[in-house]
Symmetry: C2
Subunit: 424 residues, 2 copies
Amino acid sequence: MEPSSGSRDARPAAVPAAVPVAAVLPAGGSGERLGGATPKQFCAVQGRPLISYTVQAMERVGWISNIIVVVSPENIEKMKSIIEKYGHKRVTIVKGGITRHRSIFNGLKVFAENQFSNHLLQKPEVVIIHDAVRPFVEEDIISKVVMAAKEHGAAGAIRPLVSTVIASAADGCLDHSLERARYRASEMPQAFLFDIIYKAYQQCTDYDLDYGTECLHLALKYCKTNAKLVEGTADLWKVTYKRDLYAAESIIKDSLSQQVCVITTGKEAVAQVGFLLQESLKSQITIEAISLSLCINDSHVQSSFTGQCYNFICINDNKYDIQETQQLVDMLEKSNIPVLYPVVLVLVHLDISENISFHVGVEELTRIKKFARDVKNKNILVYSLLIQCKDHLLLQETVNSAAVLIMALIKDRNPELTGQLLVA
Amino acid sequence: MEPSSGSRDARPAAVPAAVPVAAVLPAGGSGERLGGATPKQFCAVQGRPLISYTVQAMERVGWISNIIVVVSPENIEKMKSIIEKYGHKRVTIVKGGITRHRSIFNGLKVFAENQFSNHLLQKPEVVIIHDAVRPFVEEDIISKVVMAAKEHGAAGAIRPLVSTVIASAADGCLDHSLERARYRASEMPQAFLFDIIYKAYQQCTDYDLDYGTECLHLALKYCKTNAKLVEGTADLWKVTYKRDLYAAESIIKDSLSQQVCVITTGKEAVAQVGFLLQESLKSQITIEAISLSLCINDSHVQSSFTGQCYNFICINDNKYDIQETQQLVDMLEKSNIPVLYPVVLVLVHLDISENISFHVGVEELTRIKKFARDVKNKNILVYSLLIQCKDHLLLQETVNSAAVLIMALIKDRNPELTGQLLVA
């Protein structure tokens, strides 16, 4: 676990450095509503379990010193391996109870009792409670909820109701409907002064622990604390149904398709096509352009590797030079970028020769495919794209269709199509 | 408009043939929550506006005699062209009001007043009200809600609450939270005896019309009718945010990837690969296999064209024979299948020659691409796939990777990759 003092510089102005903050993520749910065997927090989105995204969202916030993930006993080993595989820091895994409230209570106990960990974690002043299945939470709302909790004792994000809420009578008929404008959906994150929420859990009944769902309610009932309600954004939604996993997948793909690094080698024809391609791409994606004389260990490239870029286009002349690509792949691997997200690498080859026929040897094709297959294990998706230009008058048009293909490959990130050679 | 008597045979037992039923789809919303310029009901999903899917869902139910779509004045022409383009039947377009309730009221008026159409439509006994942005509604729930409305005067689908509902006090703090188990989300469809809901709308105040959202509430308030609440399924959800469009897109792609028609020509090598390919595909998708002696006007193929199949694999030997494919495309076009959904057509070529190099002429490649581009305008997505097999010991492995590529093409339905030649 990293010392919390190490990351305090990153703390935004809104949350004073002196406030120790921890987060508890209940992740013990069984995912009944998804209708699948895997609980939704462990379902893969772009190959990575959903819960890893949520942990990452908390981890990004430097001023959260401890992240407590509460999972059911049978998933502890799975959770451990997720933490290890994706290199998450400041995380403590705690064994959950049979209900949500019991799990959260267990999560809080690591700060107050010796029961669940070898050493007692530093008791936070404010504790955030957030669902493992709300991966898109932003620092801004976390910070607002924490500050409100510090002032009011408790706080929670809310959203407008999407549907009218109604009460049914015993006969299954409408009793009354609620005026939609007066009510809100209670979402996550919520935050509490640790002493308040811990006291509330200590006092609450077995009925509360077994059938309750709302922490704000416990703080009100047992500590007379009226939580401050903070308007949240639409991205606080909870992955509940299978369709939500589809949505999460698309949102993540979308966010990975915002930036591309274009690497061209120094030759003149290559540079020209590289320029045209960038012009054609730039209305759709932010471009970082790098021109190299085949010296791939350039500091420019290096800096792209430390940024938020998950797409690389490598333009060279008509050679299927695996060695050069291997260098790039090695650098990507060293950068750790492909650990969290699949990286797209499009190898663009130019064929501006006068040959009338497109000719690739079987062995070359097989070699590219094998290479792509090996590299896929490192979470790097390699595709080849041939820009064929016999007629210079058509160069612009050909480059435009190359740009369309590249954007399709980047947006789709289809692992099954790696190693294929597309032709623009 | 089709006479309603023509489709009465399709009426399920649950809804007696003697009950005239109509549906009103309010579609006047401005789509603020999507944050985009296009209201969500007109956003394209697989190239087709969302509202067309909802109209289709109602149209499929033979015993609904009229479908009233209420749109804002500026979208009437757009709606007309949607009805025409996708060949929807039994639809009447009505000009909406400035709020949801005013729009629904306008929709109901076509059955009672001459104000909105040239001729008064036959007044239904039961009227269904359904959102234009809930495209996945099934006949079963429509039927249940209609029958309950006939018995109780009003009925509506409900779902469990996903989030706890809370009331806030004037100071922006929690006042109280509702016990989640006692409340339900009111969803659509709802249904009413026409006379009840029409009377309710006639009596309701301007305040109701301007600020209300719930038809069940109006029936209760003005006609003392306690609606029967019917438990709905998860697919009643409402497309509200951008992420919901992503989800809708994935759900539709998923449903289009359930069945494939494999057409093989009679030659022995082709038939063998066709058999292996089917074996490899059948764990992932339902297969209808057809073996032809190049006579594509086979009645088997014809019957596939009238079913629910949106994927076709055509296996022949190593010729890029556009003519034969053209025949298939013509039949698809005549079948009207591609009108509603994009159809995937994978042309599988076998290369079992001993040539060491993969060799396709530029002209051939250009011709395939041009063909695919033309056919894409007809909503048919053509991809080529070469199965290369020099070594018969590797045939099974090669066919397996062909199956993986085919499934990826079918599931993705990527219009940008049409005309490409993939190699297994």
